[in-house]
């Protein structure tokens, strides 16, 4: 393996990993506050993607459609909170698994009925399809944009959590929700904020995701959901730093398998990487995080 190829694959893993990390972060934000996984999380990506496909097909430029797509993602996340989470605040955890799963299927069958069961293509402007070649290594413009946006989003999240009052409340809630309430934080508003932040992160990841795969389908949210789950589980539930780490780890395992596996086994990459994850959990059931109660950000 040449140095060129190594750099190329590292760059690919970094670009895929930054989407994965964003996806994992969005899921982990809600989990850290509520202790519950959102099974309708993938539908945030779906909402973003369909909104962008619609706007671009109406002639709106991609750069203007993207923020509207993110807003649609936030709305979907907040909708999930109101329909699947808020009415079941006192219910056991498994009830919320089912209710958010039901919202996910509701959204999917809604799209199948109202929009179309068939894929809807997104036209990506030419500048995003450009490839910059430096010393034999190909850097696609989209991958560079992906990495830059992901890093900026993570910095913004860190700033929000570290510098703002609401961020402080969220970090406190991740440690101990009840005590945070006793300190005067409004529970309902705090959870709503967590869902909005989650929707923002997933929405941004959704913009990058749809630009990468190029078409929207009703069940497109499933792969991002699975990636976020695996990354969050790997990273140790509820730890935001762990989620980012888990996202990158998953991407490096996937790219590594694609490079090193014999050709016949390449279709099995997803299955094998899930298998690797189960092995990792065999050794470390709590993921990478050393402590269960890890500080947020």
């Amino acid at each position: 393996m040449t140095a060129q190829l190594l750099i190329q694959q590292l760059f690919n893993a970094l670009s895929i990993g930054s989407i994965y990390a964003l996806l994992a972060l969005g899921l982990a934000v809600v989990f850290s506050v509520l202790g519950l996984l959102n099974f309708a999380y993938g539908e945030i990506i779906t909402a973003t993607a369909y909104t962008m496909v619609l706007l671009v097909s109406l002639g709106v430029p991609l750069l203007a459609a993207a923020p509207v797509g993110v807003i649609a993602g936030i709305l979907m996340s907040v909708f999930t909170e109101f329909v699947a989470f808020r009415p079941l605040r006192k219910a056991p955890a498994y009830a919320v698994v089912f209710s958010s799963f039901a919202v996910s299927l509701l959204v999917q069958s809604f799209i199948r009925n109202v929009v179309s069961p068939r894929p809807q293509g997104l036209v990506v402007p030419a500048w995003l399809d450009q490839v910059i070649t430096v010393g034999g290594v190909r850097f696609p413009a989209l991958s560079i944009v992906t990495i830059v946006i992901a890093v900026l989003s993570m910095l913004a999240l860190t700033a929000l959590l570290q510098k703002s009052r609401h961020g402080l409340a969220m970090r406190a809630a991740a440690e101990d929700f009840e005590t945070t309430r006793l300190m005067g934080a409004k529970a309902g508003r705090l959870i709503l904020l967590a869902f909005a932040v989650s929707g923002t992160l997933a929405g941004i990841a959704g913009v990058l995701w749809i630009a990468k795969i190029g078409s929207a389908t009703p069940d497109m949210g499933f792969n991002p959901l699975l990636i976020a789950f695996v990354a969050v589980v790997l990273g140790g539930m509820g730890s935001l730093r762990g989620a980012v780490l888990g996202g990158f780890a998953l991407a490096f395992v996937e790219v590594g398998l694609q490079v090193f596996l014999p050709r016949d086994f390449v279709p099995y990459v997803q299955a094998i990487s899930l298998f690797v994850v189960i092995i990792v959990l065999y050794v470390r059931p709590q993921g990478f995080a050393r402590r269960v109660e890890e500080r947020v950000a």
Partner: protein, 349 residues
């Protein structure tokens, strides 16, 4: 380990009620229905018994598993491969090892092979799953389902890929189906009443308190996982020999959602609830499926509504969970009502 006689009596009463239901369905099938209707009815009985098998784990542990459909798939393929005669197998799945391919297994052998295959798989996956935090299990089992589904889809030398197995011999009649239902129901009720079941329920209600009382949390979860897997394998392998043809798409989200919704609607904590949920969802889907293809009533035409069954089930789940988070019956079994209770305490919840 002490068995509680009160819990055993309740289980026996519940078994009696459910057995009457299953036996009467079986008699109706034999006496009244034609061949095609009777296949729908036997399929309903087997799906119900698999929902009961899922209830053993999900209901007693309070952990959601999407992985049981993976057990179902493995059992169906193992039984199908064992039962298919070698000459038919050679044309669709050439890479099956000779010992399995040359076996034209009878019903008990095919079911036995399926159960062994699932036990190996469940034991391997059950160890890490039992040690995980409760909130992680649902996500991890979902990953397990995806893993198994993608392997079955891709490993076409063994599984015939996306096309699935066809011409599986029909080794099952209504009485075999009835027997399977009754065994699974009895086992599920017995486990629920057993000391192991009780300990797992204690873990479900309060993990920390249960651990403090000396209950080995991971071991109890593992036991529930294994019992549930074996019952799932029994139901799944008989299902395969009843269905005669199946493809990987049948072991994925649509079916996972259908079975889990039966469990949620009827009541997670109870075997009776699993049966009730299966009845409600089946009736609802049969009624709505007629709408799905579009209808014309006089001059008023209802347009085609793809996926209306799924939509309606999703809405029903949300409404029931908001109204009763434990499902319609919650943890109550049919056998919780007895004339003794009636006289002394009235109807107990």
């Amino acid at each position: 380990m002490n068995w509680s006689s009160r819990r055993l009596k309740e289980a026996a009463r519940t078994f009696l009620v459910l057995a009457i239901v299953f036996v009467s369905v079986a008699i109706v099938i034999e006496v009244l229905l034609g061949r095609s209707d009777s296949r729908i009815a036997t399929e309903f009985m087997l799906v119900t018994s698999m929902v009961i098998a899922i209830q053993v784990y999900v209901g007693n542990s309070g952990l959601v598993s999407f992985g049981h459909i993976a057990f179902f798939a493995i059992a169906a393929y193992a039984a199908g491969l064992a039962a298919l005669p070698p000459e038919r197998l050679a044309s669709i799945a050439p890479d099956v090892p000779a010992w399995l391919a040359n076996m034209e297994a009878s019903l008990p052998v095919a079911v036995g092979i399926a159960i062994v295959a699932v036990i190996i798989f469940a034991a391997f996956t059950g160890v890490p799953f039992a040690r995980m935090k409760a909130s992680v299990v649902s996500a991890a089992t979902l990953a397990l389902l995806v893993l198994v589904h993608s392997v079955i889809n891709l490993w076409s030398g063994i599984t015939h890929g996306p096309l699935g197995l066809v011409n599986v011999p029909d080794l099952v009649n209504t009485w075999v189906v009835l027997g399977t239902c009754l065994i699974i129901t009895a086992a599920a009720l017995l486990y629920r009443a057993s000391p192991w079941g009780l300990r797992l329920q204690a873990v479900r209600e309060d993990e920390v308190a249960a651990a403090a009382l000396g209950i080995p949390v991971a071991r109890m979860r593992f036991a529930g996982w294994m019992v549930s897997a074996v019952l799932m394998a029994l139901g799944g392998s008989v299902w395969a020999l009843n269905a005669m043809a199946f493809a990987p798409a049948q072991f994925y989200f649509t079916d996972t959602f259908a079975m889990l919704s039966m469990l949620v609607i009827g009541g997670l904590g109870s075997v009776t609830g699993a049966v009730l949920g299966a009845v409600i969802v089946t009736v609802l889907s049969e009624v709505l499926r007629n709408l799905e293809g579009g209808l014309a009533i006089g001059s008023f035409e209802i347009p085609e509504l793809p996926g209306i069954v799924q939509m309606a089930t999703a809405v029903l789940i949300l409404l029931i969970l908001i109204w009763r988070p434990g499902g319609l019956l919650g943890n109550t079994e049919a056998g919780a009502f007895s004339f003794g209770n009636l006289r002394t305490k009235g109807w107990r919840r």
